[in-house]
Symmetry: C2
Subunit: 211 residues, 2 copies
């Protein structure tokens, strides 16, 4: 064995040397873990379960992750970022009517969930299992996200476009519909996320009573 060279074992690298897909082993592990956590929950999934789905031994995963919990955080944090990224431009777009912005925000939210169904499920279900410091970072992103919703509603109320009221309570009806979506949505359903978002936005904006 040569000395002075870092010792590398097969597959220890971030990307496989074979130049096939650009998806790194780390991404494969995140996908496998996301699917398993979504199916059974974080605590009911073992490191060996994840390894089995990836097709390696449990110990081999530790070349690509610090711990099982770090894996959970990576999944949850990425989804949190997707939500924030989706709403930031809508929250900044003060020129358009609040109703249009709320409709767009709901659509983007449902699309983020649908596009990341396993990991979005983990985000809502298992974020509490992150260790305290990391959990605080998640809570901060969630707070940022919810504040953006409230600000859109507050804009609409201030301009008289929306009925006066407490933006916090109003935002909760939108966020409830948006967040609960991850618990029941299945891609096999008749309506796609965009159509569902439009239906929900109509109901939330106009109400269920006939006029």
């Amino acid at each position: 064995m040569r000395s002075g060279q870092p010792i590398t074992y097969p597959g220890t690298n971030e990307r496989s040397a074979g130049g096939g897909r650009p998806t790194s082993r780390r991404e494969e592990i995140l996908t496998a873990a996301g699917a398993l956590f979504a199916e059974s929950g974080y605590h009911a999934t073992s490191v060996r379960d994840i390894a089995g789905r990836v097709g390696v031994q449990a110990a081999s995963l530790y070349a690509h992750m610090q711990s099982k919990e770090e894996l959970l955080f990576a999944i949850v944090d990425r989804v949190a970022d997707e939500f924030v990224t989706a709403i930031v431009p809508i929250a900044a777009d003060h020129a358009r009517p609040a109703a249009i912005r709320l409709r767009a925000a709901l659509r983007r939210h449902l699309e983020v969930v649908a596009r990341n169904l396993p990991t979005a499920t983990v985000y809502f279900h298992d974020w509490r299992s992150c260790d305290p410091a990391r959990r605080a970072a998640i809570v901060q992103k969630r707070d940022t996200y919810e504040a953006a919703w409230r600000s859109i509603i507050a804009d609409g109320m201030a301009g008289g476009e929306l009925a006066p009221g407490d933006p916090k309570i109003a935002a909760l009806t939108w966020l409830s519909t948006a967040n609960w979506f991850a618990t029941w949505y299945r891609p096999e359903g008749a309506l796609d996320p965009g159509a569902l978002a439009d239906n929900f936005a109509d109901l939330l904006l106009k109400g269920l009573m006939s006029r």
Copy 2:
């Protein structure tokens, strides 16, 4: 030791012999388990954690339960029954306006959650960890509950009181608000469950747009 008599060890009975509170040891265990499952999740809570909160050894719990999973089911099933019991009379009350019935159903739902906050949290979060046969019973009760909501909405749409539409989609906005409530409600908040239900019902019936 006399033979022909069942051997009983202290505390093995369903109710303590001391005639104090009518709360049985079994109820104590359910309360302790409910609190711990709500705090950390079913799989992250050990039988020893539950025993520690009750103040006995882990092995002693098995005089009052078949298994940890049976305890989970007992908690979840009871909450499922509370929801069904709350909505049955409202769903049967075809004479009153749908808007009034929806408002009542939402209020009852939020009150069930608030009155059983730890166990309602477990109901929504950990029902999937029940074993398959028992989980099916829970799903059936949940389906019954959701069907009752849809029937109230269908009544209102058929009578022209509510705007025409898909009762399933409309029910989802109410159920989302109702079910998501368990994730954020804290009794220290400014509004009680009844006031919150009224605010949410106003928004869902009349919509967020000003008229």
